[in-house]
């Protein structure tokens, strides 16, 4: 679970060493994107739905303080215990304290990218508490001792044969069996035991309704329900931006979420948690962890509209060909690349550059976050804040000097074309990343401007 220290380009380079595997990864995720397209086209008012969701979230972000207070009041009235965590460390402390008070040594957790963001699992382990991830994909990567590579499809980078091997090793399934149905049944048996024994369950939160103090958790496997209903203590961890004002707004978001995420009309389970069952406890941990700071950055505020559907990852041509782990952060892909620098500019300075700015992410986003525009803006911020190499800055200054003066530009262009023609080896060598797998353009005799000048002079 250690965070790699190398940057996206290096990790992507490594991912691309196995081209057939890149093809497989790309096609798998493109298939999800195609499913999403079919679902989107099944709703004539799709674009209106996106706009509505975007506006609702805009309202939420503009009045977040009031909605959070309202949510807390309602939740308290419902009998929940509400905790506020300023950062990841406080979140982890709060969760650990609750579990320790109940003497929990082993417990279940359904999918929560927030707990990944906060690195809760290693923290609990260090405190002697074992966490069993119950989302099938998350359980698979947990057994493999890897972080999720995708926020919705955590083990999308694993082939079924590899999962078969993992299950053989950890769950005792027969060697060589890679039948998805068989493996899923095995996981089901294994997890059932965990559900039955667990005194506490952690879930994430997809939507927190300010009006009622209830939370909605969306899963396809019912694992959040199994965990939360069987345990005495339910701890729901949510980022503070998960608010929707009223229950009726769920009608917008639930229609968008699963269609955008996996191309399903709706998740199999959209479970509402409102109050603890008699004799049981419901804890809600509301986490900031940099969200207030992001809210204060006008250019990046809208990134908090994100409902974690992962559509931007599935459509991203770079994500599909570099894999989630190349982003070395809990939330990968385009949305991760605009969220991560807010958490740590130095560690994630590479991510906004891991994009061609093609704009497909912004187009699929169900809440219309201008993701590619924010990538561009993060690049400016990162350079201004000094998170760039001196060599790159020097190169850019030379480029700017050449392009700012027509005389310099013409001379440099002529010189460049001459070098390419006379000494191609000076350019076509292993130090030129372009040349590694591509030919340089053939230098023409004349530039366009030289040709144009010649035409003009012959006319006269």
């Amino acid at each position: 679970m250690n965070r790699p220290t190398t940057d996206h380009a290096t990790l992507a380079d490594k991912f691309n060493e196995n081209e057939p595997r890149v093809n497989w990864h790309d096609e798998t995720l493109w298939w999800v994107r195609a499913k999403r397209d079919r679902q989107a086209w099944s709703i004539p008012e799709w674009e209106l739905l996106r706009e509505t969701a975007s506006q609702i979230k805009l309202n939420v972000l503009g009045n977040l303080h009031d909605y959070l207070i309202q949510f807390e009041q309602q939740a308290l009235q419902n009998g929940a215990v509400v905790h506020w965590a300023a950062d990841a460390a406080e979140h982890n402390r709060i969760v650990t304290t609750i579990l320790q008070r109940h003497g929990v040594k082993r417990m279940v957790k359904s999918k929560s990218m927030l707990t990944e963001e906060c690195h809760l699992n290693p923290h609990l382990q260090a405190n002697g508490i074992e966490v069993i991830d119950t989302d099938l994909g998350e359980r698979i990567v947990q057994l493999a001792k890897e972080p999720p590579s995708h926020i919705v499809l955590p083990c999308i980078h694993k082939k079924k044969e590899e999962i078969g091997e993992l299950f053989h090793e950890h769950l005792g399934t027969p060697a060589g069996n890679a039948d998805p149905q068989f493996l899923t049944a095995a996981a089901r048996q294994h997890l059932r035991q965990e559900f039955l024994q667990s005194k506490a369950a952690i879930t994430g939160v997809n939507f927190a309704v300010a009006e009622t103090g209830e939370m909605v958790v969306c899963t396809n496997e019912g694992n959040a329900d199994m965990g939360a209903h069987l345990a005495d203590v339910h701890i729901a961890c949510m980022g503070m931006e998960k608010i929707v004002p009223e229950r009726k707004h769920l009608g917008v978001f639930l229609r968008l979420l699963a269609r955008s995420a996996t191309g399903q009309p709706i998740t199999t389970y959209s479970s509402h948690f409102r109050k603890p069952a008699p004799g049981k406890e419901l804890h809600i941990v509301i986490v900031d962890n940099g969200r207030s700071r992001q809210l204060g950055r006008e250019d990046f505020r809208n990134s908090l509209k994100c409902i974690r559907c992962g559509a931007c990852m599935n459509t991203c041509p770079v994500y599909r060909r570099s894999g989630g782990h190349s982003y070395h952060t809990a939330v990968a892909g385009p949305i991760g690349a605009i969220l991560a620098p807010n958490l740590d500019m130095k560690d994630y300075a590479d991510l906004p550059f891991a994009s061609t700015l093609c704009g497909s992410c912004s187009n699929v986003c169900p809440v219309k976050i201008d993701i590619h525009q924010q990538l561009y803006k993060w690049r400016q911020v990162l350079v201004q804040e000094g998170h760039t190499s001196g060599m790159k800055t020097a190169g850019m200054k030379v480029m700017s000097a050449v392009l700012s003066k027509p005389g310099n530009y013409k001379k440099a262009g002529k010189m460049g074309r001459w070098v390419l023609k006379a000494f191609p080896g000076m350019v076509n060598n292993r130090f030129n990343p372009w040349y590694k797998q591509r030919e340089m353009p053939a230098p023409p005799k004349q530039s366009f401007s030289e040709w144009y000048a010649e035409q003009q002079s012959t006319k006269k």
């Binding site: 350079v383 392009l403 230098p443």
Partner: protein
């Protein structure tokens, strides 16, 4: 065939730096095509670059001089036209000049990518061109998603494509269908060298889609994408050629396509 337009339009021709230096034939085709369609075209000699290479790398603050230069070169024209969606989008979104902001604002509104200028301003409905060839159209992202040159596959909306509309006016052109009609080619400015592995892989995958569907020529509205694809094609020793859309739209009826 003659094409009549209401009155002579004075066009300032913007030829992006890499076209000027490496693909002069694209500039020539653009100029000839615009003249053929009745425009009065001038190429201001003092031009260099739109500043995008610096800006997309996070150095927008180093583009001020490029911007001032651009404003000086192009402020006087009715329209500014360039054979590049990407450079035009950059100017539209980022051209500012504190010394002459009204002129910069005017340019942002009057600059057009070549195909949208043809379909939206000149309202071209026929072209005296012939190009008997199987052509794959690469929809470059900045033109398509940034300028809205074509409907985007992510959006639920009626289909249209300005480049395609024009290519369909060229006799003999057979447009091939692609599996992924608007996926990025992976050029991405400095991305093409900073993220070399992914960039090349994206290029290879785009090419494979065109080749699979029998394209003999890959065309598009941006030479930067085509330059990247051409680099991969030539390394792979593929017989497929790249041509900017202006070169196809400007093909003379009597010219034999020898591709």
């Amino acid at each position: 065939m003659t094409i009549k337009i209401a009155s002579t339009v004075k066009v300032g021709l913007f030829i992006p730096c890499y076209i000027d230096q490496f693909y002069p034939q694209v500039g020539i085709a653009t100029l000839q095509l615009l003249q053929k369609l009745g425009c009065e075209v001038e190429y201001p000699q003092g031009q260099t670059c739109c500043g995008q290479p610096m800006a997309n790398s996070g150095y927008e603050h180093l583009t001020h001089q490029c911007n001032s230069l651009f404003v000086r070169n192009f402020a006087a024209y009715d329209y500014i036209v360039a054979p590049s969606g990407s450079c035009v989008l950059h100017i539209k979104e980022h051209l500012h000049d504190p010394a002459n902001e009204p002129a910069a604002a005017g340019i942002r509104q009057r600059i057009y990518e070549l195909t949208e200028f043809l379909t939206d301003i000149l309202k071209v409905t026929a072209l005296p061109a012939r190009f008997p060839c199987k052509v794959g159209l690469h929809q470059s992202c900045h033109g398509q998603r940034g300028l809205g040159l074509a409907q985007m596959s992510e959006l639920v909306a009626s289909p249209f494509s300005k480049p395609e509309q024009l290519l369909r006016m060229v006799a003999g052109v057979e447009l091939v269908e692609l599996d992924r009609k608007d996926e990025c080619c992976g050029f991405g400015g400095t991305f093409c060298v900073a993220e070399e592995a992914v960039s090349v892989k994206m290029g290879k995958d785009r090419i494979a889609d065109h080749v699979k569907h029998g394209a003999e020529v890959i065309t598009g509205t941006d030479v930067s994408c085509l330059m990247h694809l051409e680099g991969v094609l030539r390394r792979q020793h593929q017989p497929v050629k790249v041509m900017h859309i202006a070169e196809i739209l400007n093909q003379q009826i009597h010219e034999q396509a020898n591709h």
